[in-house]
Amino acid sequence: MPSTRTRRGASRGAPMLRLRIGFVLIAVVLSFFGARLVQLQGVDPRSYAAMAAAEGAVRVPLQAERGDILDRNGIPLADSIKGKMVVADPELTTDQAPEMARLLSDRLSIDYFKTLTALRGRAEGSKFEYVARRVPSTLASDTVAELAEAGYEGVSLRDDPIRDYPAGDVAANLIGYMGTDEPLGGFERTFDKQLAGTDGEATWQSSSSKGVRIPLRESTLKAAQNGAPLRTTIDRDLQWFTQKVLAQAVQQYRAESGSAIVMDTRTGEVLALADVPTFDANKPTESPEADLGSRAMSDTYEPGSVQKVLTASALIDAGKAYPRQKFRVPPNLARQDRVIGDWFDHGNIRLTLAGIIAQSSNIGTVLAADAFSPPELVAYLQRFGLGQKTDIGVRGETQGILTPGDAMTSQTKDRVAFGQSLSVNVAQMAAAVNTVANGGVRVSPSLISGSAVTDDGLTVGTDVATRTRVISKQAARATAKMMEKVVHPEDGVAPRAQVPGYLVAGKTGTAQRVAADGTGYDGSTTVSFGGFAPADDARFTVYVVVHAPRVDGGGGSIAGPVFSRIMGYVLGRYGVEPTNGRPSRLPVEW
């Protein structure tokens, strides 16, 4: 036996040697394992753990839905819908780009050549190209399904919410519009914090390319906080009507621009605030940039004779005048620096205060306002809200110009009394006229129902609307009676502002416009009409302003019919019946 063992051993080497070689080999292999272990666990364990987790991890951003902007009845003026962006991986699409581009441009109504460029890659080695953005979800998924069916690869979808303005240009100047990713104007921008919401995120582990969850594995969900809706006081249909009627007048009289506002007399809620020219909120880039804001709030102008209403009511409230007060009105009135004239030629005429309003006599107003010192008049006008922002919530609101009382000369006061040498915005003036309509109590105008915080940190809305008594109820009634005379077919200057069947109180305004460079009047005019109905129990105040008409006319002939049309519509729309009150019987002459 030993001899055979030796022989066998000789051929394979000594057992100890073999054993050692074996051990060394095993040790070498094990030491590799050990080194790898140290590398994995000792050197940088976290990055490997993260890599392991990332393998098969799905991370989905949950986009918050932008809050709707609603009208007073809850109808959306701006709403968000789910949309998709169509993206392409040019590495996969280049080869079949023409066929795919034809299908995509057909279905999505996009430009064929742009699509082709995107599919071929705009840059060398590009792996991501936008083909289309803000495609309605259903259309996008149908199209991509169609592509997949035809055997094309490389086009996929991602979330991309769409902001839609269903009524196009209705209230566009107030609502504003969205840029590619951020709001660029109007309420969209002012109340972005409320509307935007907060995006969320969901993560989970997935085993398949379709992102199906592996049950019982780690998953997190941070739900998206959708934006809160913004409710305005706008009445969409009325806003539309106001815009159309105003646009028609602006076009007919070849005017530069125009604004109109409809206010609920009692609550100060703005039911419509129209600007012409306007723009389509869905396509803001197609309109000039100057048209994208709200001229009604951001442009100032001299109110002209509508201002006489405020002067007269203040005089009556202060006990310094009364409607039947008699005035001898000369053909023109020489004051220190210049001669004041009337819009119509007349000799010496005898008008009552009511007649001065009805005939819109500058001279008569100046004579009546002589009872006021400048600070007295300015104090009243300030309480009417002139010279201060209305804080209605519109971006870039101007505060207008009203010279402080102690700095005002008597000549300036004369001109302020009939509406020159001061400037206002549309909401200020409408709120001031509305004060007379509302029995002497000024309600601050609001465009937001409830309350909302602007990006300047200002709280606006009906919840924070203020009421202040400016003039007595008697003074307001007396002024309304005088204003009724303005639309009287014989005594007044604006019979075309009448609404058949109703008592209407109003006042015309025709003011010279200050040249854009501020060097004085440029010869063009701003015509306006402000008023309310029913005169004895006012429900609505409408104020119409038309800037720089190129056809000859005044507040009564240009703005008056617009006022009548809008007032007639709003009275019918809100079911306000004629009051059958007695018309004003104030004498205009004596």
Binding site: D79, S137, P166, F241, K244
Partner: protein, 198 residues
């Protein structure tokens, strides 16, 4: 120690010896209760198999549920998107501009002053004013003016009144043709109007 004491009583001793013999403890052979092994093994393996199969089924059903959940989620997303698209379409149909266009096409106009009908007395409140074509509001903005290139100023050519030449005769005959054509057009237009009136 005890054996000297036991010597005199051998009988007793024998008996005792026997007793002692009998009482001596011996190792009792281990009694193996031969409980049947098969049922136990079966039970254990059954439990095991059931456990594994159960776990497998549980996992499968969870995975199934996960697939179902994600397909339902996709479906919910699609339906929500469809709903929103439909809502958008509805909003666009409700667009006052569109409604007004249709109404105006049907011949409706918005009256200038409202009139109320009292259903109890059958009388109207307010001044009844006819709604005429003038009450219709302009719904579309006027087309933008054409650029000068497309709408050139009409060119006026003063033709000196000279004696009749052959050219004039030609142009006169041309005029006549044009007039005839015009008349023909007029006739067609009238026909068209008649048809529409019917």
């Amino acid at each position: 120690m005890s054996s000297p004491a036991l010597q005199p009583r051998t009988r007793v001793t024998r008996i005792a010896q026997e007793a002692v013999d009998r009482a001596r403890l011996t190792v009792v052979p281990r009694v193996r209760t031969r409980a049947p092994r098969v049922p136990f093994v079966t039970l254990v393996s059954l439990v095991l198999v059931a456990g594994i199969v159960g776990l497998l089924l549980f996992n499968t059903s969870m995975q199934q549920a996960s697939f179902a959940a994600s397909s339902l989620e996709t479906q919910a997303d699609t339906l929500a998107a469809r709903e929103q698209t439909l809502r958008m379409e509805l909003d666009e149909l409700r667009n006052p501009q569109r409604v007004a266009m249709e109404a105006q096409e049907m011949g409706m106009v918005i009256p200038s002053a409202p009139v109320f009908l009292d259903l109890e007395t059958g009388r109207t409140i307010g001044v009844r004013t006819p709604a005429t074509r003038e009450n219709a509001i302009q719904l579309l903005p006027p087309p933008p003016p054409k650029p000068a290139v497309l709408a050139p100023e009409p060119t006026y050519i003063e033709v000196p009144a000279t004696t009749t030449t052959t050219d004039d005769v030609q142009s006169a005959s041309g005029d006549q043709q044009a007039r005839e054509k015009k008349n023909k057009n007029k006739h067609q237009r009238q026909q068209g109007r008649k048809n529409r009136n019917r």
